[in-house]
Symmetry: none
Subunit: 88 residues, 3 copies
């Protein structure tokens, strides 16, 4: 079989896989938006607590971001240092 | 049949599987964001409880993270130490 | 038909199946995050109940985790001791 066709199949599937991977970002997007909404509510009620609120928001959103970064990492791995082509 | 085509089919499916696996991150993203929002609300109401709130938030988010890590693990397994190619 | 092609089709589908299986983790991620948020709310209101709250959170999250572990188990079974190849 033509090695070029084999490579093309793997590389094409990697493109689909990379696109699927970043769909993970739906979660952090919703979650962090909810947290941001609660932060807005909190600072409008207690403006003097703004520093504390923002700090807590950033800690929480940093944690919520992780799974989005997992998706990004898998997508980048598929696109830029594709380990699968070497398996052929 | 050409062994190269067989390998290409399996490796291509692994790329799609890896992308699908990290979609699991949607859940932790939403959940942790909700928890972060509740933490923001809590510290703005009881700033003196901040340490306790952040600690509880991190314990809860650590538990919620697990299924996201399952997805990442399956994706990494498919990309970097693919056990399926050896089944051919 | 070439037995190698038959195997390749099954193994390729197993890779996609493994990726799909861990998407189950969306549920526990959302649920545990919700529970964590309620725990945060609870400890900020009754800091003296922290031990009780955390223990209750962990019991609840242990139960919520199960379906995520089901997904992980199916994914691991497909990847590491694939029972389907022997059916050919």
């Amino acid at each position: 079989m033509d090695p070029l066709l084999a490579k093309a199949i793997v590389v094409a599937a990697s493109a689909v896989g990379a696109g699927l991977a970043v769909i993970a970002g739906i979660g952090p997007g919703i979650g962090q938006g909810f947290a941001a909404g609660k932060a807005v509510e909190a600072v409008s009620r207690q403006p003097e607590a703004q520093g504390l609120v923002i700090r807590t928001l950033l800690v929480g959103c940093g944690v919520a971001e992780t799974t989005g970064i997992y998706g990004l990492f898998i997508a980048l791995a598929l696109l830029f240092f594709n380990p699968l082509v070497n398996l052929l």
